[in-house]
């Protein structure tokens, strides 16, 4: 009795539900909702997956760095070390001559960043706001400097510096940066030009009416408004100089007296055993490292991590402004 009643009810309800879904309006609404849901799901999976691909090696390296040397071959240890230890870090610091190299790299990157900002901001401003006949032709040269690979110029530049005795001195890098020919300066000029172009021209005009000179307009009005471009260019200039292994190698800037992180890292990676031997890192781990070649690879990885870590920390500090600056004005116009 009762069961048949319930069945009847369900039948009536099913018809109602089918009717509801058969209405054209609800069909459309549900189609849209489903589409949106799958779109979101798809986007989430893609973005999450790629974030994972980016973060995975970094997390893995941090986990490996904190592992005690006897855990290196332990297949049971995948993520969380069984024995925590700072030994790997200690050895890497010795191998890289880390603190001195860090300080030198910081000094080189920071000064060259300031010089790059100076020369490229001025040129970018002149190309966007102080245009004159022929300035577009000059700008074509900026594009050419972007496209030409540094290898085509290095020999002649090297010979210059050899003649003037600047080979092996950091001043060679500063000179190039200060004259707007440093690492990818062309792109920076391009960014500044687009940025200054995007600022409202009323700003400059009202300053002119108030009697400000061209320089004051630039210095007191336009430059403070270009914070976004300054952050972007500053970050890139710093990072690219930090990571640079090309100019530094050709101009032979890194030396015993002035070690730089990139060159130390490359030298160490290419001859880890020798590096351990000469820097005295061997005494920290014992002579029998050859029994475990994975260990040498591990030290080389930890050294790479040590070089990236300051950049990552710095990026965390400025990342908000950096992402915002991309958002606020198109770098490309």
């Amino acid at each position: 009795m009762k069961i048949s009643k319930i069945l009847d009810r369900i039948k009536a309800n099913i018809n109602e539900v089918i009717d509801y879904f058969n209405q054209p309006r609800t069909k459309l609404v549900w189609k849209k909702r489903l589409g949106e849901f799958f779109g979101k799901l798809f986007r989430m999976i893609i973005l999450f997956g790629l974030c994972f691909v980016i973060l995975f090696p970094i997390i893995q390296q941090i986990s490996m760095a904190l592992r005690a040397p006897q855990d290196v071959n332990n297949p049971a240890v995948i993520w969380i070390p069984e024995n925590w230890s700072l030994m790997n870090l200690k050895i890497s610091i010795v191998v890289l001559d880390y603190w001195r190299a860090l300080l030198n790299t910081f000094q080189l990157s920071f000064i060259s960043m300031l010089l790059q900002l100076f020369s490229t901001a001025l040129a970018g401003y002149a190309f966007s706001r102080l245009r004159f006949r022929g300035s577009n032709i000059l700008f074509i040269f900026v594009i050419i400097t972007i496209v030409t690979p540094p290898q085509a110029l290095s020999l002649a530049q090297f010979l210059y510096f050899r003649q003037t005795g600047l080979i092996g001195k950091q001043f060679s890098i500063y000179l190039m940066s200060g004259l707007g020919m440093g690492i990818r300066s062309g792109i920076f000029i391009y960014i500044f030009r687009q940025f200054f172009k995007g600022l409202p021209s009323e700003l400059a005009e009202s300053a002119q009416l108030d009697g400000a000179s061209v320089f004051r307009t630039f210095w007191n009005i336009m430059l403070p408004n270009a914070r976004g471009a300054i952050v972007t260019v500053g970050l890139f200039a710093f990072v690219w100089q930090w990571n640079d292994a090309y100019y530094v190698a050709i101009f032979d800037v890194s030396s015993e007296a002035f070690p730089l992180l990139t060159m130390q890292l490359i030298n160490a990676a290419e001859g880890m055993y020798q590096a351990l031997f000469y820097t005295g890192g061997l005494s920290l781990i014992g002579q029998n490292v050859w029994e475990n070649p994975l260990f040498l690879a591990l030290i080389s990885n930890v050294s790479a991590l040590l070089m990236m870590l300051p950049l990552l920390l710095m990026y965390l500090l400025v990342q908000k402004q950096f992402v915002e600056s991309i958002e606020r004005t198109g770098i490309v116009g």
Binding site: R43, L153, V214, S300, V323, G333
Partner: protein, 312 residues
Amino acid sequence: MAELVKKINKAPISSGPRQYRKQKLIWAFVFLTPWILGLLIFFIIPFFRSLYFSFYTLEPTPDGIILTFNGFKNYFYALNQHVTSNTSFRVELINTTLDALINIPVLLIFSLFIAVLLNMKFRGRAFVRAIFFIPVILNSAAVTTALGGGDAIASILAEQGINQIFDLEFYLVQTGMMPWLITFIVGLIDRIYVVLSLAGVPILLFLASIQSVPKHLYEAAKIEGATGYETFWLITLPNVSPHIITVTVYALVDSFLTSPVSGIISQELGKSNRWGESAAMAWIYVSTIILILLLFAVFAKIFKIGGSHYEN
């Protein structure tokens, strides 16, 4: 310099727009001076000098460098004779060119796609964006060398049979897939990290250019009931396409810069008896890039990429 500043500051400014234009011109040259000096000393002169050197044998002596003309010998050497312990200039050049031809279209599509995704509004967007620019920061030749463990360590590991922890190919073969499909999938996955590490700046450029598309176009499309798919093809893509050229140029130069070819040129530069050869290599390298760019330009012209969508 200081006197010039004083003079310009003292100049009467209120004396009309003509005076102001003159002042602007003077300042334009003052602002451009460092760059023009750099262009002359570090770009134009080296550019022609290295072209000149590529036809000579250079011999450094204590009194200076002795130049002997040898025609195209350096170029022949670079293409036919140069070998290092495990590779040669010609092989690497061909590999890099083929890689670039495959990678760049993939890179363009990928970075445009990601830029569109990152431009959407969703929870945690700032966080995801911050992560996507990490490869830009960590993209360094030194780090790559160290992560590869250097040649010495890699060979030791290979000797002991520990070259790969997870062998994807092995698993796929066991599933009974077709061999060409397996090669394709493995190649694609190997490429993901390469593409990701090159994609940072292109994503940034595309993101910026998407954001410079006038907002009212999107609003109008929404009112007309366009779907996200239609909006992309009819509004985003045509407006972004001029920047495809910029991104292509950047990606091409970048992928060549980080390739073994540039490593070989630097190595040759390090040996003082091979300067002429290294100049010739550099010029082969530059002309390859220019050739590829021309190819892309012709391609773009045929398919009308980069032209404005609204003019016709």
